[in-house]
Amino acid sequence: MADLPKDTDILVIGAGIAGLCSALYLARAGRTVAVVERGEPWGDASGANAGTLSLQVKRPEVLHITRRAIELWQDFKADFGIDVGFGRPGGLRVATNAREVDMLRHSQAEQRTLGIEVEWLDGNRLRDTAPWLGPTVLAATWCDWDSYSSPLQAGRALIDGARRDGVAVIGGAAVTAIAKETKGYRVTTALGVIACNTLVIAAGAWSGEVAAILGVTLPVSADVNMLSVTEPAPHLIDKVVTHIGGILSLKQYPNGTCLIGGGWQGQGGLASGRKEIDHEQLMHNFRVAIGVVPALANLRLVRSWSGFEGVAADALPLFGPLPGRPAAYVNACARGGYSQGPALGLLMAELISAGRTSLPMERFYPARFAS
């Protein structure tokens, strides 16, 4: 295991997608970066997540970030020699009743005004596109940006890739105290003290906790998302499937396993650290999934689990300088933050090394919560 350096130019707290991507692009910008992680790198939300990179499910405010991110996901191999198990089969966002059809129409129109085109499918065209959809699906929008990557492969590849680019990625180094110095910060971790010029909080659902060490209040809570995987099956579901009601995410990986999620809530929370399966919520998740793709009923469930997804009170990313704390930044709590991770990492690197970003990001600055 790597030792904790005495000092570094930039210190990132948290080795999930947000922290690792920030570190990777900062290293590319020529900066010296260390990432300290409380547990195993990639051990929380990013390691537990579904790997869906869907553009069309995102809130309008983050559509452009997500599109940029999917481009970066796609280019990881070319840019960094990193194989994240990326695939871009395109995706269907389904509606299963009249109200949902209206919602879908509304969303399609809204996305069009933002310059993102999704295609309306119903009737025979929908069945021809996806004969495996069940009769309850009345309509869907098709988005050719919708993709996936393998969280397992991506984690390993990003950690290896960051290390190759000189980033120190150190697990078992929970941050417990932060002291302001004349220049930069002195950060106490479980493995010792490290000094840095610049600090990036990328501690996911725990970013509120870490910011509190610096005396900054961030309104962060955590959802306990559940996810399930089936045994490998013959290839059938050849597109990423999502739901206008936000209650299903479904896809089949190249190895044949199907991943079923959709934000159904398990039991527990940040305070207790528990993240347990909720029986009835899980049943609902499967019922929605089987309603949309009936063939799933014949597959065997191998594992269900849950993880903490950090969310800010307004469900927008927490991105940018911490108010009143020079050279301290936060990059956390983007909804569907796995999809957006590479772009948010790149934008964070731009902000720190050039002082400006290639997409407008001010609205996501944590200062919006300062009263």
């Binding site: 809530q265 399966i277 019922r287 089987i290 469930l301």
Partner: protein, 482 residues
């Protein structure tokens, strides 16, 4: 939702004995088992419509078995066959997947009697067709009256090898050799006093040994299989002696021809459900590995959850029968319903103590003489689901060999459809060895439901209230209980 006084998971020796005891105290019982017919491993029944005729050697236990099965007809007993208990969503609730009978069972107390499975030990060639486990061979014989080959080598470590060997002989198979790793002959004298504690069991053991002797089966002790050979199917096995220091002497390899290889390196308790609900476990290699920590009343660290039989600690059928009774008795006490508890407890405990002496003698006799990791070659597949080799593990290990959790996430090991049953033990040994830590100290990756794979469609049948849907899916969904 079914409401019951006592829920029993597993209808093998321990589970059936528990049910028998429970109804004697007037408890209502729900017993779920994932086989079409009750019996578990030892009392396995052939599939319907076949019946035992009580005539063959394989039916010698028919009387005892039928007496046990009687309890399933008792008016207070509900038997759910073909039913996987896949989760304990609350410590007193079972989630049962059983096709259109899928349901939840809420119980006053639970007896976990889930039995054991073969301990997987990877070695070169172990994934070849024609190589099957000792337990699997017994199932084939008992459940289907089938034999895995015509000329068979039985190899590994533990008393089950002799049971399987004798059964195969009785079934008319040419058993080419029994290859037992432990030097049992050299240890016999020391074990004898303990063995004499249970004369009936000793007689049974002698019967197995005698069957092998009469058939002229070579019994090679102090030797281990080191590789299975063949292209489409196993056609030979290499065996080698183990010296006094536990080293495998690869200079003295012998080759034995065969068309099937039965391997058994002992059994491991099926503790998944207990792991799921966070029962404290301890590591006891002699009893099969990770075991639930139990009170003298067979209660796990989770109140109201009792564990009995091979699912709690490997001990064989006689111990399973007694523990099943005792666990149900203690559950009845807990529910305030027990009759004559102290008298019954004393009688059962007395018998158990005697058989326990026999068990300990058997354990010493068969204690593993070598480290099974020494059987691994770099290209040996450790994880069959994801085809991860020992070499690949060692390579990932050199980079960052810090925990099982990490290795699991960097290799996909234990994430396939076997849910780690085939590979987790090897992974633990490898990590422990390379870190110089005892296995007992390792942090295991969390066990997640289902305890066994289940068909998703089964879960459509349980009646539940319609869900509350999020008004705006982007906003925090809000936690339930914390």
């Amino acid at each position: 939702m079914i409401d019951t006084d006592l829920a029993i998971i597993g209808a093998g020796a321990a589970g059936l004995a528990a049910a028998t005891e429970a109804v004697e105290h007037g408890l209502t019982v729900t017993i779920a088992d994932d086989n079409p017919r009750a019996g578990g491993q030892y009392f396995r029944q052939p599939p319907l419509p076949f019946r035992r005729n009580g005539q063959s050697w394989f039916d010698k236990e028919a009387t005892r078995a039928n007496a046990l099965f009687d309890v399933l007809g008792h008016p207070k007993v509900t038997h759910i066959p073909d039913a996987v208990v896949w989760n304990l969503p609350e410590p007193n609730v079972l989630a049962v997947a059983a096709g259109d009978r899928s349901t939840r069972v809420r119980a006053g107390a639970i007896v976990v009697a889930t039995g054991a499975h073969d301990r997987p030990v990877p070695f070169p060639g172990w994934t070849l067709p024609g190589v099957i486990t000792a337990g699997g061979a017994q199932n084939l014989l008992k459940g289907n009256r089938m034999v895995p080959g015509r000329r068979i080598v039985v190899a590994g470590n533990g008393p089950l090898l002799f049971v399987v060997g004798a059964s195969l002989v009785r079934a008319g198979v040419d058993v080419a050799a029994i290859v037992e790793a432990a030097p049992v002959n050299a240890r016999l004298t020391a074990a004898l006093p303990g063995l004499l504690a249970a004369p009936k069991l000793l007689r049974q053991a002698i019967d197995y040994r005698w069957t092998l002797l009469r058939a002229g089966v070579p019994v090679r002790t102090g030797m281990t299989a080191v590789a299975a050979h063949g292209e489409e199917n196993v056609n030979a096995v290499s065996i080698a002696p183990i010296d006094g220091e536990g080293r495998i002497d690869r200079n003295r390899i012998e080759r034995v021809d065969c068309d099937a290889l039965v391997v058994g390196f002992g059994l491991t308790p099926s503790v998944e459900l207990m792991r799921l609900i966070g029962c404290d476990l301890d590591f006891h290699p002699a009893r099969g590995g990770w075991l639930p920590r139990r009170s003298t009343g067979f209660e796990t660290s989770v109140p109201g959850v009792f564990a009995a039989g091979d699912g709690a600690a490997i001990g064989g059928v006689e111990i399973a029968l007694l523990e099943g009774r005792l666990a149900a008795l203690e559950a009845a006490v807990r529910l305030g319903r027990a009759r004559d508890a102290s008298v019954r407890r004393a009688a059962l405990t007395h018998k158990l103590a005697r058989i326990d002496r026999f068990r300990r003698a058997i354990e010493r006799l068969f204690a593993a003489p070598c480290h099974y990791l020494d059987l691994l070659a770099d290209d040996t597949v450790v994880c069959r689901c994801e085809e991860v080799t020992a070499g690949e593990l060692k390579m990932r290990g050199r980079e960052a060999w810090t925990s099982m959790v990490q290795l699991k996430s960097t290799t996909r090991l234990a994430m396939g459809r076997c849910q780690g049953r085939n590979c987790m033990a090897t992974l633990a040994s490898l990590v422990a060895q390379s870190m110089g830590e005892p296995i007992a100290k390792l942090a295991y990756p969390r066990t997640r439901p289902p305890a066994r794979p289940i068909a998703l469609g089964d879960l459509l049948h349980e009646p539940i209230a319609p869900p509350e849907l999020p008004a705006d899916p982007h906003l925090p969904r809000g936690q339930k209980v914390t």
